[in-house]
Amino acid sequence: MTHPELEQLNDLVDGRLAPAARHDVEAHLASCRACRDEVDALRATVAAAAALPSSLPVPDGLWDDVRATIDARRVVALPRAPRAARTFSTRTLAIAATALVMASSGLTAFVLRGRGSSPAPVEGVTLLPASWRATESGYIESVDALRAQLDAQRAQLDTATIAAVERALATIDAAIVEARAALERDPANAALTDLLASNYRQKVELLRRATQLASIT
């Protein structure tokens, strides 16, 4: 007895056999246990694949990464952002740093203009919302840790890269100070909260890229 090729059994399972060939294979299956088992295994595999869940739990931090990239490109389009550390180069980091600077500066003024009026100065001390203070201390922790790591790796980076990173950091810091001061005057302003968070995310992202670059050069 000649068994059909495995290709034919696959095509049978997929409904891709011409009627005549299908008739022949089915006639063979009726009398061949081995080929029937083969077809059963194929069908079980196809069914198991089709039954896999269409969604899987998203890893922590995926949204933050997506959001950071979107924010970084929001005002000035970044060149294709390097994702994996192995694709980083000094040049792309410098370009990214420059784009981050452009993205950060002047946004507070833009947000305030978008409201149609500048916030009324509030007399006395205004505290930021407690929820935001917790968020902020989280960012500051990340910044401090990355900053310490970067300082330790400084020797691995060339001076031009260090200068580009420092320039970008200085501008982001200025944007943070600016947005924070505006938020203190107008704590209910959701857009300012977003902007300040976005500035912190950019700072974390820039430091993260710089440390990754240092650890692979």
Partner: protein, 195 residues
Amino acid sequence: MTVPALTLHPRVTASTQDLPDDRDLASRALAGDTRSFEVLFERHAGRVYALCVRMAGDRQRAQELAHDALVRAWERLGSYKGEAAFGTWLHRLTVNVVLESARSQRRREARVALAEDDDADVGGAPELAPSDVGDRIDLERAIAKLPRNARQVFVLHDVEGFRHDEIADRMAIAPGTVRAHLHRARKLLIAWLDR
């Protein structure tokens, strides 16, 4: 306290009773509203990620691909016209991102190695935990261990339901090659999973 309407970041929704549908969210996101995009992310990122995990066979790489697909979705929201479901549009876009990445990876490897067979990366049988782990996990792990082209064809055809001609078209390979990869993938899975 009332918060004035802001053009830069309009609030997505004030109540949970009338959740906006995907098309509304997509058009708000297109206008620059990242909160609306975050809601779309919450609804659809699990499917994007699942596709990336199975196609890439590697969770780290899958996360990068999912990131790239979602950022591209944000950038190309203007090309979503609302005629198909947003999830379908996003799914197709993700397939493109994954396959483009696989193509450029093949080109890089071709420059390095001398026409090395794609099949060279087949490991032995995957290390499968004892049966208490469950068939589904075993299958996911076995898929991850397939050679790349066989894995991608198998995922697109048997998991995602694409037709042979669509796969041939998108992967830029001959229909006969699609068939060969598919059969090879199933044969390896059956052997590894001892079905």
